[in-house]
Structure formats: C-alpha cells, structure tokens
C-alpha cells in the first residue's frame, strides 16, 4: 500500500504543517478538503514478516496535526452518528489540530476507555469514516479523515507521556456489579459502572485479561502491552480483577447474586466456540481452529519459542480457510512463525471478503497467496494421521443470497489437490455454551446467543448480557456499544434502588 518510508512521510508532514497552520484560520472547506491525506507509516513487509512488532507505526505529531486539519468540523456530525459509542469526534480532532493532545485524550475518554485498542482494531471505514464529508467531497472514501489513526495517535501520545489520567469515580454506593468476561464488552461495563461508584469485579476464565483482544488479535496488530495499560487504568479506578474464574463452573451465575451479594451481573462471554466445516479429515493432526492457533501464538506466547512452554505446530505450507479478519490474522501469524507458503482459501472473490481492506493489503504485501473462488472439500492425511494436502473445489459466483453477497456455486468436477501440512479453519465462531449449559433459566436463541431486550437485560432478573454472546461473532466496537448500553441500564437500575432504600 505504502510506497514511502516513514522518514519521507514524516519530513513531508513537517513541511505541510508549517504551511497549513499559517493558512488554517482562513481556509475554506473546499481548500481544507484538499490538504493531502496522511499515509500511515508502516514497517516494511520484508522486515515485519520476521517479527511480531506492530505493522502500523502510528502518526508522528506533525502527521496527526496535518490529518486533523483536514476535518471540516461539520455541523451535521455524521461521524459521531456512525460511532457505536458516540465519541465526540470533531471536538477531539479539533484539539489535535491545535496541538492540544491531552485535551483531545480527555475528550475521547469521556466516551471510551480503550482508545488505543479502538484506534487500532475498529473497522472505521464502515463506521465513523464511512460518511465523512471530506471523503465524499474528494470522491474517495479511502481518503476520508483518518479518525481511527488520530484516535490511536492521541492514546499513544498520552501513554508515551508516562502519565495516563484516571477518570473520576463517584463516591462509593455500596452496590456490587459482577462482570463475566474481560473482553471489550466487559471492560466497558466495568468502567461505566465503576464511574458511578459501584464496586465492580471482573471474572475472567483465562489467566490474563482482555478476552479476544488478548487471545485473538495478534501482537502485530494490537500489542499486549496496550491491553495491559488500558486494563491498568481500570484497576486504578478500583475495578477488581479475578482471573482463572469460570462463571458457570467455579461458581454458578445465579450464585453471584444469591450467595455473593452482587446486585447486577453482566455476561460478556463472547463467541468462543470455533466452527468447523464438517468435512472429512478435519480432526487430522495439523488442523487447527483459528482460535487455537492464535491463542497459542498470542495468549500463550508460542511465538517466543525460546521462552514459551506452549508449543505451536511447525508448519511449512499452510492453508487458511475463510476470508475474515481472523483468517488474515491467522495467515499473517503463520508467516511470522516461519511458514514458507501461506494460502488463504476463500469461496467467493476479494470483493465479498469480510476482512478489512487494510488487513488484506497488508497480508498481500507479506506474501500471503489468495485463492479466491475455491474451497476445501476434504483434508487428506498421511499414514501417521497428519495433514498432507487438501482437496479443493472451484466455485463461481451466482445470484445474491440473503446477505446481498453473490452466492458461490461449485463447479462440478473441478477438484484439485493443494499440498499443505497445516490447515487453519477460520470460518467463524458460535456462542460459548458454558453459561447457557449451566444456567438453565437463561433464555437463548437456537444458536445459543443470549436473548436480551433493548436495555441488554436478559430473561433473568438483574442479569444483563452483551457483545458476541448476544450478537454472534461481530466486532470489538459493537461489543463495546452493547456494553455501554448495558452499563447504563445497570446504573439506572441501581440508582433507582438506592432511592427506594433511602
């Protein structure tokens, strides 16, 4: 994607900033929209496939300010309307343009406690940036104001200052809120409820907090250190973390209320049940769910081979089945772990791929080979039960299906063999069954998703739910939006009860 080195980009931004700062007060919207969009500096592909460091390096101060100057400060704030957690986007961008980075950081924190995460992993191109006036004016939505990059810049800038401001917490109310799962939805609920002065405990099944942010999204897109810092802010606000605690098993969900005295519970256990294709050979040695592959690499640090006890399969030729962001993450991780050839096998074409454009472009730069209009029919094993190849079928696109995407139709007798030693299945996740299995009164859909009303309340009193366990596999920011709504409902319920008690 990028043709220029970070040094060149940075020098150019310095010159542009001097030029436009002078003119800024008198710039007409049309002229403002003509300020060149700032590219994101990245690690060179040849270099980055040998390390786990972040691919996108982040804007310099000058790059951020030039990009911020592009914002027209529209009266009709389409970007805010399209942000699931309603960050005051024009206001924080305005402060970046003026060089007031701390103020910008504080504005974001009014709505989001995870700006460094969201700035990196939100699909801004289909949310805030999708209706950006600048993008429309120059008829290139790829050059909309880079809201996500600016958000990340502010969060990173604040962290680099060594001082992260801690949001204010109201006086203790004596009420207790339990949050089940420390993924994006749970973290938002914890923050919002804690701010109101309630005691908040987060229960996490794994040994580190963050949920999918930790086990799923790789270090090269979202460094663990960032999650640690954002979690630290919550801890400093007084949120209690209990790791290695499986609600449903260590304690029943209802016991949290009946025995442990929690006044409200939020269930944000995510979509942690990997789907497989149901084809022959899927249990051969060398077939992994993307969840397992990424969990080994991310949460369990398997990429640090010298230090980590958790092994990862020594792959040379890898086929990744699927076309979403998880497929991109898996393929790029396999490359970094030393695979010589990595193929992404997807039944439709690039246009229908659900992965973010930017991730697909990065994967291509890294030498990942895309096989469109193909799909695995069965996985073939050797005499030791290890993967030796997949048999694929070719497809063509037919009529659009219910999702509006053109349906892939298999071409008869088009079978061919692709030699691989590893298959990573990245076709999505079902809902984690633990809570529903152990909480028979909880109303769930056929697919196991928890049923909630418009305030995220479940069929059970005092129990709320949100994120992927409600939505099915979705995005980090949508989960956060649900968390925000649930927290508001919990806070309202607890406030009303406090009034009654008085």
């Amino acid at each position: 994607m990028n043709t220029e080195s970070k040094e060149v980009l940075s020098e150019r931004a310095k010159e542009l900033l001097v030029m436009y700062l002078e003119k800024a007060p008198t710039l007409k919207p049309k002229e403002r929209a003509q300020i060149p969009a700032m590219e994101m500096p990245v690690q060179e592909p040849e270099e980055r496939i040998h390390n786990l460091d972040e691919v996108a390096l982040g804007y310099t101060m000058e790059e951020a300010r030039v990009e911020a100057l592009r914002c027209l400060q529209c009266v009709k704030r389409q970007c805010v309307d399209h942000c699931p957690i309603k960050i005051d986007i024009p206001r924080f961008i305005g402060q970046i343009a003026s060089g007031e980075f701390q103020i910008a950081a504080d504005i974001i924190k009014e709505s989001s406690l995870l700006p460094a995460v969201c700035g990196r992993v939100c699909p801004q191109e289909v949310q805030c940036q999708s209706e950006c006036t600048v993008g429309k004016a120059i008829k290139n939505m790829d050059k909309a104001v880079a809201i996500g990059r600016l958000e990340r810049f502010v969060a990173d800038w604040e962290r680099m200052q060594g001082h992260v401001s801690i949001p204010e917490v109201k006086p203790e109310t004596g009420k207790k809120v339990a949050v089940v799962g420390s993924g994006p939805a749970g973290l938002v609920v914890a923050a919002d409820c804690r701010r109101e002065g309630h005691h908040v405990t987060i229960f996490e099944a794994l040994h580190k907090p963050g949920g999918v942010l930790r086990y799923g999204i790789p270090e090269f897109r979202l460094p663990n250190d960032i999650i640690d810092r954002e979690v630290e802010v919550l801890a400093k606000m007084g949120v209690e973390f209990r790791m290695n605690y499986v609600v449903g098993r260590t304690r029943k969900l209802t016991d949290l209320i009946e025995k442990d005295g929690y006044d409200a519970v939020f269930v944000g256990t995510g979509a942690g049940l990997p789907l497989f294709m149901g084809i022959e050979g899927e249990n051969l040695v060398g077939v992994f769910s993307a969840n397992e592959y990424l969990t080994r690499a991310n949460l369990m640090h398997a990429y640090e081979r010298e230090k980590a006890d958790t092994p990862i399969y020594p792959s040379k030729k890898v086929a990744v089945l699927g076309g979403g962001n998880v497929a991109m993450d898996s393929s790029r991780m396999a490359k970094r772990l030393g695979a010589e050839k990595v193929y992404v096998v997807y039944r439709r074409t690039e246009t229908e791929m659900p992965a973010r454009k930017e991730e697909v472009a990065h994967a291509k730069e890294e030498g990942i080979e895309f096989h469109f209009l193909q799909n695995a029919k069965r996985i073939l094993g050797d005499e030791n039960g290890k993967v030796k190849a997949i048999e694929c079928l070719r497809y063509e696109l037919g009529e659009p299906d219910s999702s509006g995407r053109r349906r892939p139709v298999e071409i008869p007798n088009s079978e061919f063999i692709m030699e691989v030693d590893t298959v990573i299945v990245a076709i999505g996740n079902g809902s984690n069954p633990l809570i529903s299995q152990t909480t028979p009164d909880m109303k769930v859909t056929k697919r196991g998703n928890i049923v909630v009303d418009e305030t995220q309340q479940t069929s059970m009193k005092r129990i709320f739910a949100g994120g992927d366990i409600v939505l099915g596999a979705a995005t980090v920011i949508l989960a956060m939006g649900e968390g925000r709504r649930a927290a508001a409902a919990i806070n309202k319920m607890l406030a009303e009860e406090s009034v009654k008690e008085m």
Binding site: H207, T250, G278, T295, M300, D309, N384, N432
Partner: protein
C-alpha cells in the same frame, strides 16, 4: 491464591499435591478436572483431574505423573509455594447412577481420576468390582484406597511384580463372561488401555465409559484443540466431556492428535532437565 498445602511422592514419577482452592473444592464433582500453570506468563496450561477435595480444608487433591516440562516443574514446587494459575472445576461431572454391578478399571496414573468416581458410584449403592493395573509394582498408586471401595478387587501388573501378571483387559474379559453381567464399565488410564478395554466390552454390549485427557489450551470450549471423533460427531473433551462412550470414541485419531507436538515437547523437557542439572552442578561447585 493457590498454595500447595501438602506434597507427597507416590512413586518414582508420581506426585500427590493438596492445593488450596476453596471455591473449586466446594463446586467440584466426580469426573471434573482443573487446568493449572506453574508460570502465568510463559507457562503451559495443563489439564489434571481432581482426585479428591476437602471443603473443610478448602483444598483439592491432584495426582500427576512427570511426563514433560510442566509436570516436572510442578513436581519441583514445594509445600507453601503458590501456583500462579489454577482454574476449575472444568468438564461435565460423571453421571452417577445405580447400575447394579460396576467394573472400574484404572491403569497407571488413571487410578487417580478413577478414585472419586468409584467413591461416588459406591455411595450410590453399586456393587463395585475394581481392577487396578500398572506396568510394574513401583507404578501402582492408591491401591489401599481403591481396595477399601471394592467388593471385589483385582490387581495386575504387566511384569507380574505385584498381583496377577496380566493386562487389565484379561480380568475384564473374564468378568464380562460371567453370568451376572456388569451394568457399567468405567475405564480410565492410558489411551491404549481405554481403547482395548472398550474393545473388550463391546462384544458383550456392556456400556463403557472412558475419561479422555487430550491436548487442551483454554479448557472452556474456545480453542477446539481437544476435539475427538465420537461416533459420527466431533466433540470437545473440555465442555462435552471428559467422559464419553468408549465404544464410540475414535482412539486411533485421538492418540495421533495427542502426539501432535511430541518432538517439540521432548526437546523442551530435555532442555529443562539440562537446566536443572546445570543449576545443581552450580550449587555443588559453589
């Protein structure tokens, strides 16, 4: 935290530990397991069955065999040390019912997870036939505890150093041939033993439960590393198991999957052994 309250070496490579875990002690049922780590940054998550629990002490008992780096590291921990991560109880509990006569077959370290199940089955009023097997006398564990639960007790070793010189499948077959057929067989031990126990009981149509200990990462259904073929279905040992109908389990596939990382694990174990040896040498020299 999870303090090691008591540690005992049961045989050359087998250790028993009582670990502080009050919530797990309260909730656990026969057949369930825990996952622990000896280091919560770079350590591996390993599943171990809960062998016993005490709600008074707020502790659980685990019995493990040193087979790799993590179990070796665990065996080197002392009373008073704390485990950085311990989570459970995981898996579905054993279905305890009145079957009439139950045969419990335990092989090697598998006797440890079998004990709480046998206890529960005894309590439910079953007539208990217990077969305990091991490669040799040194590797027999919990003999007396199992004997205490048994209406009929059979001990066998592969080399004849204790009890009958036989594989557990021999007495199992004889029992199946009896006029009064057992209503249930529970077999827990090495995969190959469970496979042959299941093959032994199949012609007699005696329901046979096995408890699988596959590779796992999270233990909550998230990774799918533990999946096994059971009949025509794919099951996750961590959330659908660990117990399954032995007549339906594809043991050959399960054993192949267990060996996925054999070479890496062997190297890691050796590397750790060398480190320990180095450290000991340094101690001696200084």
């Amino acid at each position: 935290m999870n303090k090691i309250l008591f540690k005992q070496q049961l045989s050359k490579d087998v250790f028993l530990m009582r670990i502080e875990a009050p919530l797990i002690a309260e909730e656990r049922q026969a057949g369930q397991f825990i996952i622990l780590q000896t280091d919560d940054d770079y350590g591996e998550r390993i599943p171990l069955t809960i062998a016993d629990a005490s709600t008074e002490e707020g502790s659980i008992t685990i019995i493990f065999q040193v087979v790799g780096k993590t179990t070796l590291a665990l065996s080197l921990m002392k009373e008073g040390d704390e485990l950085p991560a311990l989570v459970g109880p995981l898996g579905k509990p054993t279905h305890i019912a009145q079957y009439g006569t139950v045969v419990c077959v335990g092989g090697g370290i598998g006797v440890a997870p079998l004990h709480p199940i046998a206890q529960a089955l005894k309590k439910a009023g079953n007539k208990m036939i217990i077969i305990v097997g091991a490669r040799n006398k040194e590797l027999i564990i919990l003999e007396n505890k199992m004997k205490a639960l048994a209406d009929e007790f059979i001990l066998c070793t592969d080399d004849g150093t204790a009890g009958r010189k036989a594989l557990v499948t021999e007495p199992l077959k004889e029992i199946c041939q009896r006029e009064e057929k057992p209503g249930m067989v529970i077999a827990i031990g090495p995969p190959v033993m469970m496979k042959f126990c299941s093959l032994t009981t199949k012609p007699f149509n005696i329901p046979t439960q096995v408890s699988l200990n596959t590779i796992m990462v999270d233990g909550t259904g998230m990774c799918g590393g533990c999946r096994v073929n059971v009949g025509h279905e794919v099951k996750f040992v961590c959330v659908d198991g660990p117990e399954f109908d032995g007549h339906q389990v594809d043991f050959d596939n399960m054993m192949a999957r267990l060996n996925s990382y054999k070479e890496i694990e062997r190297k890691s174990h050796e590397c750790f052994l060398n480190k320990i040896a180095d450290a000991k040498m340094k101690e001696v020299v200084s």
